[in-house]
């Protein structure tokens, strides 16, 4: 909102330093955005929050200044003299859509002389319009007056050329579907039934609260004018303005809750100025339909609440002065409270809390101390936070960078890879980024896209992880938001599996990590697995296949994994316990076993574990697998591993270790058909 320095002076004395004023306005709610010189005037740019439409006119800003500096405010009291015939005699007004237009008024002035508006008015309008519209020009005296009153009090007006209104009537109605409308800006707009129009007997002559039509505007040939002053639905005005991408100073104000009393004041003010500067005679009475159903209710301001909420005490007299200067009227009071009725232009003041804010901002927030003793309180770190922090430490320690990617992705990505859910993803009504309107059901496609971006930047070594939510649709209600760790690496399956195992070690998760084959379109048929932790589904791990790489334009191999973070939290040992360590040396035995290809390592390891007393077996270390079909036959492999044995009560003898080895060998032979080599 641009205000003119000279204009403001009409209502309040501006003897203070301008910069100080700008600062005080900023500190009391009208943020100062800048000031520029326009000829011999100043245009001061003030940011007005959406709850203060009263400050979208000079009078409202002047009132703020008067309150801040404790100065008198002088506002004109327009009283145009009507000497013409009864306006309702041969003109009718109907509101067909009261939900879009609660009240509509019109006054008719006949026999005006169209010409230039007075120089002072042109100059003040120039100050507030020229800085935002470089080719701004005054229009004519009638139109300038409606704009002047708009910028004076914030109530938008519109002037019609009465001769262009067909059928001697105004109908406020919903637009017909597909109805065409040529506005003053000479663009044609297609209207829809949720939009409100001002129509004559035959066609719309204005989009309510937004813009008038080109062929009903006041021109040099206009003789009689109808001045509209009305209230329009803020939601409908906003929707219309958005839908048509047509924004005007009028629509900006109608989108907010305007002063219902402003309708008559503004009409009177405009009529008075037209009579003064354009001549003509004002018809007796008003075209007036509908009513604004709102009137302010008294509010009780308990003085004790000032200290209770603001933390400072303010004198009763100061509280009262502020409230009354802002336009509230005192209706009743007692020792502990003031009862006031807020002014009609402050629809945001309806409760004690609203008045408290007024008192605080005018009294000055700088008076609230910033060094009071806030009581101490214990804070708690959730297990989830501890796990997430440790996870990041672990992942970065082993060389992975953390990435953050968008939650909403192109729908194709959810079709390429969605192992957690077979349901169609949730979609946003409008895309978040170009082409992206699906709530992701996996982090993997996003991470592959990051690989592609880094490839295009010729970055080697793209090793990334992300911890974020995926959104799994449910049959009804809110989706399941699953915190997920996603990982991508340029190295192979074994590497990434090692990463997951390392993560489990970092959390001292003792449970079994199980691996099953699973088929995923994106992944290599052999290197595609589903993971289980302690029997519960934990995640997915695999290498992207050639087609998958191609679909993300990747030239180099990529491995991907995703695991559920809730299981990490569930199984993590966050407070590890000490156990007594054996002081006796460990001994190791290497074993080289020939067995069928069908026996997986996990089966072999389980057999070994079962074969040995748990307290003796400290570790099983896989060494390598090799094959010699000439000697061993087809579908047979040799697996070399080491077992580490230790007793807690004495040194394990060579004979004991050999005996354990024999138990292992016997178990492998019995359960898996494997044989010790050599």
């Amino acid at each position: 909102m641009l205000v003119s320095w000279n204009w403001l002076k009409q209502y309040v004395a501006l003897d203070m330093d301008r910069e100080e004023l700008e600062n005080r306005l900023a500190m009391s709610g009208l943020n100062h955005e800048g000031t520029e010189t326009v000829f011999d005037d100043l245009a001061i740019d003030l940011e007005v929050t959406s709850n203060r439409p009263d400050c979208l006119g000079h009078i409202g800003v002047a009132r703020e200044i008067a309150v801040l500096y404790n100065l008198p405010l002088s506002i004109p009291t327009p009283a145009p003299i009507a000497t013409g015939p009864d306006v309702n005699a041969d003109f009718s007004l109907t509101i067909e859509s009261p939900e879009l237009c609660p009240r509509y008024t019109g006054r008719i002035i006949r026999g005006v002389t169209i010409g230039e508006s007075p120089a002072w008015m042109q100059e003040q309008l120039r100050t507030v319009f020229a800085p935002i519209s470089k080719d701004w020009k005054p229009v004519n005296n009638v139109v300038d007056i409606t704009n002047y009153v708009l910028m004076e009090c914030g109530q938008p007006l519109h002037a019609f050329d009465l001769a262009k209104l067909q059928g001697q009537q105004i109908i406020v109605r919903a637009a017909h579907d597909g109805e065409e409308f040529e506005a003053i800006d000479h663009h044609t707009y297609q209207l829809t039934p949720d939009m409100c129009v001002i129509a004559d007997a035959n066609r719309p002559v204005a989009i309510a609260g937004v813009m008038g039509s080109a062929d009903s505007e006041v021109s040099d040939s206009t003789v009689d004018v109808l001045i509209e002053s009305a209230a329009f639905s803020s939601m409908a005005t906003r929707a219309t303005s958005r839908a048509l991408n047509l924004h005007s100073p009028a629509s900006y104000r109608f989108e907010r809750a305007l002063d219902p009393e402003g309708i008559e004041w503004a009409a009177n003010r405009a009529c008075e100025l037209v009579l003064e500067h354009c001549g003509g005679t004002l018809d007796e009475g008003w075209l007036d339909a509908g009513a604004t159903a709102w009137s302010p209710e008294p509010v009780i301001m308990r003085l004790s609440q000032v200290e209770r909420i603001l933390g400072i005490s303010i004198d009763r007299e100061e509280v009262k002065r502020i409230l009354l200067a802002l336009g509230n009227t005192e209706t009743a009071s007692d020792d502990v409270s003031l009862t006031v009725t807020p002014p009609t232009w402050r629809r945001d003041l309806a409760r004690e809390a609203d008045l408290l804010e007024e008192i605080a901002r005018i009294h000055g927030y700088e008076k609230i101390p910033e060094d009071v003793g806030v009581p101490m309180a214990a804070s708690f770190k959730s297990d989830w936070d501890r796990v997430a922090a440790k996870l990041r430490t672990t992942m970065t320690a082993i060389g992975f960078d953390e990435s953050l990617t968008a939650s909403v992705v192109p729908n194709e990505w959810t079709q390429v890879y969605s192992p957690w859910s077979e349901k169609a993803p949730l979609r946003t009504a409008s895309p978040m980024l170009k082409g992206a309107d699906a709530l992701r059901t996996s982090l993997v496609p996003s991470l592959l896209e990051v690989r592609r971006i880094n490839q295009s930047l010729a970055n080697p070594n793209v090793e990334l992880f992300e911890t974020a939510k995926i959104y799994l649709p449910q049959d009804e209600g809110l989706p399941q938001e699953q915190w997920t760790l996603g990982i991508t690496s340029g190295q192979g399956f074994g590497h990434l599996k090692g990463v997951i195992e390392t993560v489990l070690q970092a959390f001292k998760i003792e449970g079994q990590l199980e691996v099953d084959s699973t088929s995923q379109d994106l992944l290599h048929a052999d290197y595609s697995t589903s993971l289980k932790l302690n029997g519960e589904h934990f995640g997915f791990l695999g290498e992207v296949n050639t087609a998958g790489l191609k679909s993300f334009s990747l030239r180099n191999p990529a491995t991907v994994a995703e695991i559920r973070m809730d299981l990490l939290v569930q199984h993590a040992t966050l407070i590890p316990q000490h156990s007594q360590l054996s002081n006796f040396p460990a001994t190791t035995r290497d074993l080289n076993i020939v067995l069928s290809e069908t026996v997986r390592w996990d089966a072999l390891a389980a057999t070994i574990r079962n074969a040995v007393e748990a307290s003796l077996l400290e570790d099983i270390t896989y060494q390598e697998t090799y094959r010699d079909p000439d000697r061993d036959g087809a579908d047979v492999k040799r697996v070399l591993f080491t077992v580490k044995l230790r007793r807690t009560d004495q040194t394990m003898t060579s004979e004991e270790a050999d005996a354990v080895r024999s138990q292992i060998v016997a178990a492998i032979e019995a359960e898996l058909g494997g044989k010790l080599l050599g």
């Binding site: 209770r308 933390g311 806030v374 009504a429 040799r638």
Partner: protein, 343 residues
């Protein structure tokens, strides 16, 4: 010879050699022991090496590998004993080829994303001030994102163009999404969820991703991170708010700062303010704040006559950009590994 037998002999040799070298008290004794185990002609190691010929062919790779390891272990045991007997003597020998300026063995470490780093720091600071972190859903319903936050039906913040509502019908599959759900536009939703389940006193921060339809440019991104604080108790005032924000900013910036309030407008607080901090000779926007609106307290079942509270919210990206000199918000979500490596 069986492989295991061979391996056992090697293991035994190591332990014998270690014992002997360890027992040597003079250069001569050690030399004697060296010849016994490592002697080129008749050393025990040499003798065992000859046995390798008798190991089965398929076991040769393992046998060879283990033999070499064993040799290394015995040699290093000798070196240790030698150094012990010589005192500093062995360290005085010059290695003219050694270049200490060569780079050490490198380790690749990863980086935590700068946004996460910022969030963690803010969480730490607020934790020291007694605020615990809470988490909540990113997809929200009308009640938590608007109604309970005192945002009425006709408020511009509810405009479909200001929010990412979920599509109500899936054109292709015919499946229906629940009506009125949206990606949360603020993390205050989590505060509502906590207050609905918890009695005062409350001291929490909620943080995470929020979504608003902005065209992505250098300073806007349709997804960003917010951190919001909430304190509710029987006697919380705006002076407490200002004091907590001052401690917060002072902790974050590492030096004493002062806080200024400018009036603002948020539906869920009354009074509402923009908080600025004074730093390096200028006022810098910190975030929005205010006293929790009585309607919000009522909506979650609190009595505004019993308790009061404050809330504040900060944009994480903006703080992070200012702190690290990042000029384009889109860098955060591009994940150029060179960018990530800078933090």
């Amino acid at each position: 010879m069986a492989l295991q037998e061979f391996l056992d002999q090697l293991e035994q040799l190591v332990s014998e050699a270690e014992t002997n070298f360890g027992a040597a008290e003079s250069t001569d004794a050690l030399e004697e022991a060296r010849i016994e185990f490592l002697g080129a002609k008749n050393g025990k190691l040499k003798a065992v090496q000859k046995l390798m010929g008798t190991v089965e062919k398929q076991d040769k790779p393992v046998a060879g590998k283990t033999f070499n390891e064993t040799k290394g272990r015995i040699e290093s045991a000798f070196e240790v004993a030698h150094a012990r007997i010589q005192g500093d003597g062995s360290d005085t020998e010059s290695d003219s080829q050694f270049d200490p300026s060569l780079p050490g063995s490198g380790f690749k470490i990863g980086r935590v994303h700068p946004i996460t780093q910022t969030i963690e720091e803010l969480k730490d600071i607020m934790g020291r001030l007694g605020f615990s972190t809470v988490d909540g859903p990113e997809i929200e319903d009308d009640w938590h994102n608007f109604v309970a936050l005192n945002i009425p039906d006709d408020h511009p913040a509810r405009d479909p163009l200001e929010n990412f509502y979920l599509a109500t019908a899936e054109a292709n599959s015919g499946e229906k999404n629940p009506v009125g759900l949206l990606l949360r536009s603020q993390t205050s939703t989590v505060q509502i969820r906590v207050m609905e389940k918890t009695k005062p006193p409350i001291r929490i921060i909620s943080l995470g991703r929020v979504y608003r339809p902005d065209t992505a440019d250098a300073t806007h991104y349709p997804m960003f991170h917010q951190i919001e604080g909430l304190m509710i108790d029987t006697n919380v005032t705006m002076a407490d708010l200002k004091s907590v924000l001052r401690l917060f900013a002072t902790s974050y910036l590492g030096d004493d700062v002062t806080i200024r309030f400018r009036p603002s407008f948020f539906p869920f607080t009354e009074p509402s303010v923009e908080a600025d901090y004074y730093w390096n000779g200028q006022w810098i926007e910190f975030g929005g704040a205010g006293m929790v609106d009585p309607n919000v307290l009522t909506a979650v079942g609190y009595d505004p006559e019993e308790v009061t509270g404050f809330a504040f919210g900060l944009g994480v990206e903006r703080l992070c950009m200012r702190r690290h000199g990042i000029t384009d918000i889109r860098e955060f979500y591009k994940n150029d590994v060179r960018f990530l490596a800078q933090f």
